[in-house]
């Protein structure tokens, strides 16, 4: 049985910072989901009044989001593995 030790409320600055980076890491997929779900509000030709989004723009958007997620994931991973001294986070 593990008895749940209440987490310390006040922690050192580094620990606090590390936890916020963890939060960011955890939030990243939701961020990606939101950004990639955005195209559903684009006009897809069923309604005529709005101009259609060009495929080149769509490609650019999707790939920029992709690149953002990859770089963020990489950076957060690096920051966290540095902060934890290379141990598993």
């Amino acid at each position: 049985m593990t008895s749940k030790v209440p987490p310390d409320v006040f922690v050192e600055r580094d620990t606090y910072r590390k936890r916020r980076w963890m939060d960011a890491l955890r939030l990243l997929p939701f961020c990606g989901l939101g950004l990639w779900a955005l195209p559903i509000i684009w006009s897809n030709g069923s309604a005529d009044e709005t101009p259609l989004v060009a495929t080149s723009q769509a490609i650019a958007y999707v790939f920029v989001v992709w690149l953002f997620l990859i770089i963020s994931g990489f950076a957060l991973g690096r920051v966290l593995s540095l902060k934890t001294g290379g141990r598993e986070v």
Partner: protein, 893 residues
């Protein structure tokens, strides 16, 4: 134009190269130089089995038909990888701690090691994945046919070529997938081959893409313009499909047996996962980077009616870039082969562990205690499974005619395996999910998938009639395959996803809420959901009647003789037992079961161990652990329990103390009565005779002397009694000061004999002086008192004709024993227990003793840290004094 023969030769060389790489990797791993095989990069590249021929060829075809929609099947997995911390981290940890061999094993293990569930998952996986394998065969033969006949671009793929491809893949998988039995061990050869193929397919696609963009399209800017000008130049993606396909691909990424194999089974640590979390999305992004440009250029440049699924090949060919085309072909070939190898490996493990082995075991009457090496059976069954699965794929390919677009077959497969998701996620996040719920959800979801997605995919008038599509099953409109419950107007794929996954989830949750899990399910549930809290396994085998020999025999058959011996020896060593047979403790049985599970799956391993161990395997402690729905409740109840236990203990102590006091009070009364009697008796004589002397006139001098000497004797008796009482009281209260001196035992006995010489009478004392040469540090006066007492007792009570007391000294268990044995009448059995009690007098004829002598002896010996015992002797009595050893003396002080 490269000839077909050249291509086949290239293929063979490439396969030979893969063999060599795989072989080298296995060798390196065996020699312990395989550290680099576990590098995060290799792990990331091995994940690329996700990118199959569907991805390689089909994505372009998909883009040519539907624009950007193709990218959804990459977005889902990217999100899962980016969000690794949420799901994958837990899955991988569970996979490692539970030694999971496949997704069927995980689900069955989670829901109480239910083999029924494992069979259902296995069958579903085989049905779901077989078309996918067919798809790979189709793509390889299709691409081969391109080369054999450049004109007939849409030619039907050759069955013969398909057969040889299938046979080759089966051979490769058998060779590298079943070399080691332990499915939980990494298939280093396969993994490295897959990683190499991942590089080849990425390079091939990037090369073709680069050629298309910069060689044909005139650079990035112009390419973008061409894209916007093409048929797919505007965003025309259906929102529901965009979301549904992203979700389904994410689900499939987790649930596909081959993905589970590389993600979880082959995983070697969280670090691999952490790197792959961004590296694999990068790989996927690169794989999809040039898909749209290739599709657009293909549409633009190739004749109308060309199969867009093959643009990757036909574009370089049409431009006369044979080298690039061959590279592209190798990329597609790599995609297809890696998928087939890993998928077949994963499926064969499932089929073998959950269908063939249980069947085989149940068919054998002896069950787990079969003779012969089970390992051969397991390997054989796995090899057969591989061949059967590939054969299924080939047959599907052969009879479906290979006509359907690659992407649609792939999607159908995705939706099928996505049905595992509710049971999988519920299993690792929700302790309340049950086996019944999992079964209900899986079967519901799978049936709906088959009805709305799989069967319609064969086309109108094959399985379903046109009427069935229009009017529904049995003419029931609400059963129309593409408009279930009247929900029409949806895209068929979205329709299938929505209905199958929704009802799957509803049934899973509903039945879980209504049913009650078995103890084993609850145990496993706690293990899975709290995998980060629980370090050790909690499933318990009850201490059992099984013998370690039986377990050893079974383990040898499955793990192999050497591995089993190692495992047992290690366990025995951990238990502190020399030799190789450990006690069958619950802990050892759990370890053994997990080791076996790594070879034959949790359900089978559990069944085998329980066959030998027998009986229920869930102990009260385990149930207590499960009852711990929250740590707090348990903590609280533990506290209550502790308190109540403490109360019970206190009450018990009080009761005991009360009993003791009562007994003491009775003892005190008896003691006072005894003392009173012992004091009053001599006093009576003294008083009476002194009154006689005082009051009687004319007593003769003889009488006077006699009465006076009675008075004197009784006074002496009284004095001795008071002395003894005082002595005893001092000894009992522990107020005695021991005067420790070192001296010889022999001298001590001499002294005692001398002291008692005056009353010696007829008693002769025999001694063995040789043994008496023992040096002794103790209170010699006190020990001498004991000796004197024993000699005096012998003098008084030994009733033999020639009374003899034999004093002997012996060493026993490191203690010195002094034995005083007389040849008098043996004390009757009933009295023996009393001789050391106060005031107990046995055969006291003249009443001169107070009955305290032996009680005092016992007290003295206790104080000195030794002991005194009575031993009835043959024709006599013996008192044995165990002399204090130095250590005991120290403790007594």
């Amino acid at each position: 134009m490269a000839s077909l023969n050249t291509l086949v030769a290239v293929c063979l060389i490439y396969v030979a190269f893969l063999f060599a790489v795989a072989f080298a990797a296995e060798r390196a791993a065996i020699r312990g130089k395989g550290g680099w095989l576990r590098a995060p990069l290799v792990y990331t590249l091995s994940l690329s089995v996700y990118c199959t021929a569907w991805t390689f060829y089909g994505a372009v075809g998909y883009a040519a038909r539907s624009g950007m929609e193709f990218v959804t099947i990459y977005l889902g997995p990217s999100l899962v990888m980016i969000g690794w911390w949420w799901v994958l981290r837990k899955l991988v940890r569970i996979g490692r701690t539970q030694r999971v061999t496949s997704i069927a094993d995980l689900i069955s293990s989670r829901y109480g090691k239910s083999n029924a569930l494992a069979i259902v998952v296995t069958l579903m996986a085989v049905i779901g994945v077989t078309p996918y394998i067919a798809l790979q065969l189709q793509s390889v033969t299709l691409s081969l046919s391109i080369f054999s006949d450049a004109e007939a671009v849409v030619r039907r793929p050759s069955a013969t070529a398909g057969f040889w491809v299938a046979a080759g893949l089966a051979l490769f998988t058998v060779l590298f997938g079943t070399r080691n039995l332990n499915a939980n061990e990494r298939h280093d050869g396969v993994v490295i081959a897959v990683a190499v193929e991942a590089v080849v397919k990425l390079i091939a696609l990037l090369a073709v893409g680069g050629f298309v963009v910069w060689g044909l399209g005139g650079g990035l800017g112009q390419m973008m313009a061409r894209i916007d000008a093409s048929d797919i130049g505007t965003w025309q993606v259906d929102s529901s499909r965009w979301l549904a396909l992203t979700a389904v691909s994410a689900a499939a990424f987790l649930c596909l047996p081959r993905m589970f194999q590389v993600l979880v089974v082959e995983n070697d640590g969280d670090r691999q996962l952490q790197i792959a979390s961004w590296a694999f999305p990068l790989y996927l992004m690169l794989m999809s980077l040039f898909v749209v440009p290739i599709a657009v250029m293909g549409l633009e440049m190739l004749p109308a009616g060309s199969n867009p699924d093959l643009f990757v090949l036909t574009l370089p060919l049409a431009e006369g870039r044979d080298g690039l085309a061959v590279l592209s072909f190798l990329g597609g070939f790599s995609s297809a082969t890696s998928m087939v190898i890993v998928a077949t490996l994963a499926l064969s493990t499932m089929v073998s562990n959950h269908i063939v082995m249980p069947l085989w075991l149940s068919l054998r009457a002896e069950g787990a205690t079969v003779s012969g090496d089970v390992r051969n059976v397991v390997i054989l069954s796995r090899r057969l499974s591989i061949m059967v699965i590939i054969a299924f794929g080939f047959l599907y390919f052969r009879f479906s005619g290979g006509s359907a677009a690659l992407a649609s077959i792939g999607l159908i497969s995705f939706v099928g395996v996505a049905q595992f998701l509710p049971a999988l996620m519920g299993g690792i996040f929700w302790r309340g999910s049950t086996r019944g719920g999992a079964l209900a959800g899986l079967i519901t979801g799978f049936s709906i998938w088959a009805y709305t997605s799989l069967l319609p995919s064969f086309g109108v008038d094959t399985v379903y009639s046109a009427a069935l599509f229009e009017e529904g099953l049995w003419g029931l409109a609400w059963l129309r395959p593409h408009a279930l419950f009247g929900l029409g107007g949806l895209d068929p794929t979205v329709h299938a996803v929505v209905w199958s996954l929704t009802l799957n989830t509803v049934f899973f949750i509903g039945v879980s809420l209504l049913s009650f899990p078995s103890p084993m399910e609850r145990l496993q549930g706690a293990q899975f959901v709290n995998v980060f809290d629980h370090a050790g396994p909690a499933m318990g085998w009850r201490a059992s009647t099984t013998t370690s020999e039986d377990l050893m025999i079974m383990a040898q058959r499955i793990l192999g003789a050497e591995e089993a011996r190692d495992l047992f020896r290690t366990a025995a060593h951990a238990q502190g037992i020399s030799g190789y047979l450990p006690e069958p403790t619950p802990a050892f049985l759990s370890t053994l079961e997990r080791e076996l599970a790594a070879s034959v799956g949790a359900a089978t391993a559990h069944a085998m161990v329980s066959q030998l161990v027998g009986g229920a395997s869930v102990s009260v402690e385990d149930l207590m652990a499960v009852a711990n729905e929250s740590a707090q409740i348990l903590e609280y109840s533990n506290q209550l329990e502790a308190k109540s236990a403490e109360l019970t203990r206190t009450a018990g102590q009080l009761r005991e103390a009360n009993e003791k006091l009562k007994a003491l009070s009775v003892q005190k009364d008896a003691f006072l009565g005894q003392i009173s009697h012992e004091l009053r008796t001599p006093m009576t004589s003294i008083r009476s005779f002194s009154e006689i002397l005082r009051d009687t006139d004319g007593l003769g001098s003889v009488e006077k002397t006699r009465y006076a000497s009675i008075i004197h004797a009784e006074a002496v008796r009284l004095t001795r009694l008071l002395d003894d009482l005082l002595d005893l009281s001092v000894l009992e209260n522990g107020q005695v000061n021991l005067n420790l001196v070192t001296g010889s035992l022999s001298e001590l006995i001499d002294h005692a004999v001398m002291t008692t010489r005056s009353g010696a009478g007829k008693l002769s004392i025999e001694r063995r002086r040789l043994n008496e040469a023992v040096s002794l540090t103790t209170d010699h006066d006190r020990l001498g008192q004991v000796f004197v007492n024993l000699i005096t007792n012998a003098q008084k009570y030994c009733d033999a004709e020639n009374p003899t007391l034999t004093v002997s000294v012996e060493e026993k268990d490191g203690c010195t024993m002094v034995r005083f044995a007389d040849n008098g009448t043996t004390i009757p059995g009933a009295s023996r227990a009393l001789i050391f009690e106060k005031f107990s007098r046995i055969n006291d004829k003249d009443g001169s003793g107070a009955g305290l002598g032996l009680a005092i002896c016992r007290e003295i010996m206790t104080r000195l840290g030794g002991d005194i015992m009575y031993e009835p002797d043959e024709g006599g009595n013996a008192f044995v004094i165990q002399l204090p050893s130095e250590k005991r003396l120290a403790a007594a002080q």
